[in-house]
Amino acid sequence: MNVALLTRVWRFASTRLVIVTLATLVWGWLLLFFYSQFSEAIRQLANQSPIFKQFTNFGSGNLFTVSGAITLGTQHPLLIALIGIFAVGGAALAIAGERQAGTLEVLLARPIRRSSYLLTQLVAIVAIVALLVAALLSGMAIGVVTQGLTAELDLARFPLMWLNGVLLWAAFTSFSLAVSASFDRPGPAIGLSLAFLLANYFLEILGSFWTDAQWTQEYSLFNHFQPSEILAGKADPLDFVLLVLVFLVPLAYALWVFQRRDLAAPA
């Protein structure tokens, strides 16, 4: 790993990172505030309309329990977009973007191994993702405390939830980085990375809205990040193992392909 490169990646991302971290923190708090203020009203509405009730089950979350609200917050499109900026966009541009810009040329003229370059980018982005998930859960913890909801869940389980969330996003980061290492242009790298994220998201959400399609959730990485189960003390170790595997396989491929591929002169 290269410290100078790591520092530079963080410095480049610093302004965006501050904004997104604050947005994520506020989002976490807002969801718990919304739950404490409106969950009863939404429950009454849901009881009057089965179709509406179905739509209140978004992903694996809902607005009728604290843990359901927290799960909903972690799977909401807004949060996916916020964290995806770095985990998917940042990772997809890490190599292919620098290739097209021609800056990778100058960086790799230094005594840096390609594997070191790739791993440094991975560490930089996963650290950013870890910070964002921490900000989200911090916002939620603040919401739990300020809304007087501490009796309904055990905050001591938040660290495990954080780890689960980081593993989920690290898997997407690893995939995006592998795609980035395979292309010279950012377009295909971003396209494929985004397609992978959206496909997983679609499978998870489709199953939650449509009971006949619930089986599709089994094939989504999002299904392996279940805050409600962790908060209920029923975390499945297999979820963690699977996410670690999905993180490691693209990483191994990225290391293999990036070290072996030719880097022709940028067009």
């Binding site: 021609g102 003229a109 230094r110 005594p111 840096i112 191994r113 940028p266």
Partner: protein
Amino acid sequence: MEAEGSPGGSPAIQTERLTKHYGAVQALNALSLEVRNGEIFGFLGPNGAGKSTTIRTLLGYLHATSGSASVLGLDVAADSVQIRRRTGYLPGGIALYGSLSGEDALDYLADLQGQPAVRREELCERLQLSGHDLRRRIRDYSRGMRQKLGVIQALQHDPELAILDEPTEGLDPLMQHAFYGILEDMKAAGRTIFFSSHVLPEVERICDRVAIIRAGELMALQTVDDLLARRKRKITLRWRGAAPDLSFVPGLTDLQVRGDRATATLAGEVGPFVRAVASPALEDLTIEPASLEEAFLEFYADGEGPVVRTRESSTGDSAAKLP
């Protein structure tokens, strides 16, 4: 400071039958050349000849299909990181982070290099890049200023070997002159410079030896003097009275005689020709100076140009035709 010697006194750069294919396209074909320590070596060829492919293979961006290459005595495939630690590279059409200031970019690249930028101040001064310029964002730089920054980032850590791809592109004549001075000083300090260029007068002016490649194959590897000596010169003669018979003069071809004037092409040494035509009746003699450009063009005049490596300049023991 003297350049650190390469292990076993090996050449700065050596390629042995270096070959690179991109699918069916053959970018390099059995390229064998040697760049000696402490020389300024020009690498010539038109676009697509394989210059950049060679440079990129030497620096580990590309993997050779076959053959081998070493830089500073280190294998390009196995020791790429060590090679890059001891070299400075200026890519053709360099791209730098537009959001950074020139100074920040140089600091960043020096950090990545892991060596102090011992020559930065001197290089900035010689290339007239002021402190004010360095504090501006690179996106506001002109093409010439970017190129200056590219030169500085490649040389600021005082590398043993500088590999420069079209280094004077975008530099005005004054800065080109300053750049030549920098290269000459580097050579005097024992550094080696390997650079590709399209600007033949500059190659002629500063290079000790040149290699000319075409379609991935080495066409010539000679000292500049040798290359110029073998090039054909255009001559014009004028006599008082009718022109004499010149058919016996050695090395003269394309002879055309009109009254008291004759024009011809002269190959080889000038001395024997001058002695042969010297007479009291000879009123005027013009011999066009040999230029590398003409010599270069000779290699591209037809599709099957000669491969020439003199005893002095070849990597082998004697003059040889490449396979």
